[in-house]
């Protein structure tokens, strides 16, 4: 499948690019989909014509994360780490319009975004603890940096689902839209506003706010690779 089939760019003018995630039927995260998403993000990072990115889904749910029946979810860790680290370090404004469920790794589209708009029937959950799965390094660190300690407990140590009001109270989302048309309209309006912010200062402030977490992820990923690298040196 070509990536333009499942990740569509829509240009809204003034540098606002909507990235519609279209991996039917619910944006399950596979290695291929994550890699294509990462490539899109990196391209837009380097493209001076892109001023702000709006993430959307055409489906009932925004993203249900990794297949719950996958035998070895850990095999996906490198792809999850790369995709969400790319989104978290993206130097321009990222606005997300969430619908339906954001579950498991799918939650990190929200957590790595800068401004979050949600439909009034949205749900948010981190169910890895229920599935008996550990978090890939980048996801654990993004969760630690973007959720307060109490929301970490509620979501990550119980797996409970938050509705839109609870999610707003927990500061996971900022704006609620009662119907789907409003959702897109509100999110696009925020994206247009943020596209007008001076790009260089935005990138610097965003990086200053996140640099500790980014460096920590990079260090931990290096540490994970180290034994392998060391072993290959010994072998060579």
């Amino acid at each position: 499948m070509e990536r333009d089939q499942w990740i569509n760019r829509r240009l809204h003018g003034d540098g606002v690019v909507e990235l519609q995630l279209g991996h039917a039927p619910e944006n399950r995260l596979t290695a291929e989909f994550l890699n294509d998403f990462e490539r899109e993000i990196r391209e837009m990072s380097a493209d001076p014509d892109v001023k702000a990115v709006l993430l959307t889904s055409p489906f009932k749910d925004f993203s249900t994360g990794v297949d719950q029946d996958l035998a070895d979810a850990r095999a996906l860790a490198p792809d999850l780490n790369a995709a969400f680290l790319a989104l978290y370090t993206f130097p321009k404004p990222v606005i997300i319009a969430t619908v339906g469920l954001c579950s498991g790794a799918g939650m990190f589209f929200v957590l790595a975004s800068d401004l979050r708009v949600a439909h009034a029937r949205a749900g948010f959950e981190l169910i890895d603890v229920q599935l008996g799965r550990e978090y890939p390094v980048a996801l654990m660190e993004i969760a630690r940096a973007t959720l307060d300690a109490n929301t970490q407990r509620r979501l990550m140590l119980t797996g409970q689902r938050l509705g839109p009001i609870a999610a707003r109270n927990a500061q996971i989302i900022e704006v609620l839209a009662d119907d789907l048309e409003d959702l897109h309209g509100y999110a696009l309006k925020e994206a247009r506003k943020m596209a007008r912010l001076p790009g260089q200062a935005y990138a610097k402030i965003k990086r200053d706010l996140r640099i500790d977490t980014i460096e920590r992820i990079e260090t931990r990923l290096d540490d994970e690779l180290q034994p392998a690298a060391h072993a290959s040196r010994l072998a060579g």
Copy 2:
């Protein structure tokens, strides 16, 4: 006094163990009580039959902390550090059902727990600043890790008491129970749910979330011991 006289285990089946803290009349924290609590926690940590722990008090107040008239509260620091570090690093779910007052060091039963249920007339305060007392290392670090910066200011720099609603807004507790019977019922229900979570993933996620604080506490405790160790080496 035997510890089974003031710390009672009640088995609720399916690996749920209620630990009833019964140091009459209000769970004052003494060296002996803290040491026995720590020993219980360590035993249950190693016991594969224990899946989740529910902390309760049979008294009007959950715990009023260290005796406010104690001449040298600092002498208790090693016992407080050991007991609450053990609770904070406990690898299984800890649910707490608080009643009445949690004051001073008694607050750390709440702050080190994973899910907190409170009676509708509960109160929460950290009055060390009013008593002119410094925080033992582990307690300071647990407070810094589990309370947001603004709640730290409100509680630790004024000593003000939070009622149940304010405590819920400050995310210190999650569930409120209108009467005492509900309190126990709600807390037990949550404990049963959490006892069913896969143990290994739970322990790993909880540790990943807390590892920075745990390492920091251990380093600071080592540093505190260092001068003494150094002096004894010189003496020897």
Copy 3:
């Protein structure tokens, strides 16, 4: 202009000192004003008769920060860093009574204070991102330490203004006063309460809570000076 002309001390008894910031018409931050503020703070830090400080403004707005039309705002960075680091490390209670607008660097009078009272028509904003300005080191670190990650996004990556209720929900302020007379009364009452707290324990607890951020600021400021120092050694 003499500093007693734009920074007035009013003694309220029992060690409570009101520091009225009077740089007409809206407490714009200039190098001279910041330096005088810093000197006042340092003097009161060393003065055993000062038990608590109350920050007030006689104007419609508390402080509108750095002149938005200033060509080179970066030239003010050393003065902003010095003034707000002094306030953030001040070892005694600081209470603030905010009126009207706190904007840009003016927000750091609030963020570095220990207890914040606001008038019911107060507004709070960090508009540097809109002006295309980066944060001086101390201000970035104080913001990171005192605002949660989500409030950082809302304020620092959009520049939106928070009204008094939103600011209270975001835990930027604790107490709201409906009219200006109440504002001063409430703030003074809190200041009197905090002036009675044991000074040594207060200083130790406040420092323990903030030491990481303080050390981080000092390290980053040293790093910034390092190249210059290095260059001057080479030149000499």
